[in-house]
């Protein structure tokens, strides 16, 4: 009979004790798993989405809000910036590439982003079908959008005003899907991309379309540009010198603000980090309690079982065998607990992901990461540590004395 079977049978001869131990370990591990997965995924997303963007320029306000709205498409934009001013910055010698963004509309909660073709090269986009947007009202949609909103090339849809709800639909102009992006594993999977002129058409120009045509005919486009606005600019520096000069220049000489994604992401993460740390300690505390519980359980059962163990010795089991039986019991308990905990963590995170409204920060519970092996190792270590004292006692017990007493 294998030692595993002996230990296993003994554990389940007291199902309540065993379940309590497993429950404690599983709870601790589940919390740690969720924290580990969530923080890895958030960090990953923050990094992936901002990797080639050095600076964001937008209306004055909270720099974090500017970054969140223009890079992660989570928060509301800080406002708009005049196109003329923005164009001046785009021509600056510090700037290698500048991409204008016009936000403000959505389709069933998916953000519609007005931008130009530089956006494609900035994010390295490719299409899986159709083409990139070109003329106004043409839209190229992210891979997830196509799947979730059931849109394909050739379909048309109306945008709604605002960023989250389909209120005040712009019924005058319908967007036409001309292409679907290949999955990019970044924010663009959940965006609708279109020409910047489309967004203008929906808003400022809407009331006076007639007039606009009129103006065009009379060649007064320069005057018209005065009213046009961007939401923000995504900027890539030409040289590292710009890092020190450019943001200062923007903040001091213009009515706009410059925010660095790297800095703001770090700030954001340090804010989240406090919560993560607290939860982490809480989980460690649970694991510690679990370890004590396993220890107490084994230690108490050892007292009751000392006669059992003595009998095993008379049947030919060596001291080492008893030692390994007890260690094995600790290991089995914590291994089951850890595995259940990891599975539970993934399940809960996936559930959270399904109920999350923001598609940009969505958690995926089906992703596994290498760090989880550390959790498994930590669980096994706890099992050994909790079992080691009872195991040593079993090893050292004086068989003759125990048998004589009974």
């Amino acid at each position: 009979m294998s030692p595993f079977k002996i230990s296993w049978k003994n554990i389940w001869s007291k199902p309540l004790n065993a379940s309590l131990n497993i429950l404690l370990i599983a709870s601790g591990t589940a919390i740690l798993t969720i924290l580990l997965l969530a923080s890895t995924q958030i960090e990953d997303k923050l990094e992936k989405n901002s990797k080639d963007i050095d600076l964001v320029v937008g209306a004055k306000g909270s720099p974090l809000q500017l970054i969140l709205s223009s890079i992660y498409y989570i928060d509301f934009p800080t406002g708009n910036i005049p196109m003329n001013e923005a164009k001046k910055l785009m021509k600056s010698p510090f700037v290698k590439c500048a991409v204008p963004l016009a936000l403000g509309d959505n389709y069933n909660g998916v953000r519609i982003v007005g931008t130009d073709s530089n956006y494609i090269s900035l994010y390295g986009l490719t299409t899986q079908s159709g083409k990139f947007w070109d003329a106004d009202l043409e839209a190229t949609i992210g891979a997830n959008v196509a799947k979730e909103q059931n849109l394909k090339v050739g379909d048309t849809f109306f945008g709604g005003h605002g960023l989250t709800e389909m209120k005040d639909e712009h019924k005058d102009h319908a967007y036409k899907v001309v292409g679907i992006l290949a999955p990019q594993q970044n924010v663009t999977d959940n965006l609708i991309l279109t020409a910047i002129g489309s967004v203008w058409k929906m808003h400022g120009d809407e009331g006076h379309t007639e007039e606009e045509h009129h103006d065009h005919e009379h060649g007064t486009e320069a005057n018209h540009d005065e009213d046009r606005e961007f939401t923000s600019l995504l900027i890539q520096y030409r040289s590292s010198m710009a890092v020190a000069m450019f943001p200062m220049m923007v903040n001091q000489t213009t009515n706009m603000q410059a925010a660095s994604p790297a800095q703001e992401s770090t700030r954001l993460f340090s804010l989240i980090g406090v919560g993560v740390d607290t939860l982490q300690w809480f989980a460690v505390l649970i694991m510690f309690i679990a370890a004590i519980s396993v220890f107490v359980n084994l230690y108490n059962s050892l007292k009751e079982r000392s006669y059992d163990l003595a009998i095993m010795r008379t049947l030919g089991a060596s001291k080492g065998k008893l030692f390994s039986l007890i260690i094995l019991e600790g290991l089995i308990l914590t291994l089951i607990g850890t595995l259940i905990g990891i599975a539970l963590g993934h399940g809960i995170l996936h559930l959270i992901g399904n109920y999350q409204e923001s598609s940009q920060a969505k958690m995926n519970g089906l992703l596994f990461i290498n760090e989880e092996f550390y959790l498994l190792a930590a669980g096994l270590l706890i099992g050994i540590v909790a079992a080691i004292i009872p195991a040593i006692q079993a090893y050292q017990s004086n068989i003759s004395k125990i048998l004589a007493k009974n």
Binding site: M1, I6, K9, N10, W12, S13, Y307, D308, I311, M312, R313, T314, L315, G316, A317, S318, K319, G320, K321, I399, S400, L403, A404, N406
Partner: protein, 209 residues
């Protein structure tokens, strides 16, 4: 053949036990007689390799017990010595068959279900082979512990006070079983007791004073 030569054991400075030399031939059935405190249990533990005596030598089939390493001694005990204790004690989390398999595997022997069937049948316990210890009566438990003691066909079958908590009828029955099983398995039997009722059943007696 079992021999003990000039064995003595000292628990503390004032409490020393000396045992007379003893020769037991194969297949013999002995009574080890002594009052409580006379060192009966001590001698049994020394004889079964559970307690190393302060001085002296114990040989079972030419093996000097205490010259073996701790691990080898445990294995030797599992294979060559069967012990029946006063209180029948089985591992509660395992059923009867599993308790017997345990005795085979702890002794380092392969699982032999035929042998288990055979032994249980000879003790009229085959119908309980899948029962758990708590489902059995005291008398049935006693039978299973005898089954466990003889499962590996030991050279030496030792019973420590097997009858002291039983009434006359059951005491007689257990003694009969022990004698029958030792003959069946060609094991040498040593029954340690202070129970006067047992005396008449044995010709050979080793007395402790």
């Amino acid at each position: 053949m079992i021999s003990i030569t000039s064995v003595s054991h000292q628990y503390s400075a004032e409490q020393a036990l000396k045992f007379a030399d003893w020769q037991v031939n194969n297949g013999e059935q002995w009574l080890l007689l002594g009052q409580s405190g006379s060192g009966k249990t001590t001698l049994l533990h020394i004889l079964t390799g559970l307690l190393k005596p302060t001085a002296g030598e114990i040989k079972i089939n030419d093996t000097n017990l205490y010259s073996l390493s701790s691990k080898k001694l445990d294995e030797f005990r599992g294979q060559h010595i069967g012990i029946v204790f006063q209180k029948p004690h089985l591992i509660k989390s395992l059923n009867i068959t599993e308790n017997l398999i345990l005795a085979q595997s702890f002794a380092g022997l392969p699982t032999d279900r035929n042998r288990i069937q055979e032994v249980l049948a000879s003790l009229d316990m085959a119908h309980k082979k899948n029962a758990y210890p708590q489902e059995l009566s005291q008398g049935q438990l006693q039978r299973v512990t005898i089954a466990r003691a003889v499962i590996n066909k030991p050279t030496l079958l030792i019973a420590d006070e097997p009858t002291s908590s039983l009434d006359d009828k059951n005491a007689e029955a257990v003694l009969a079983l022990l004698k029958e099983q030792s003959e069946l398995n060609k094991a040498t039997l040593v029954v340690a007791t202070h129970d006067k009722r047992v005396k008449d059943a044995f010709n050979l007696t080793y007395s402790l004073s």
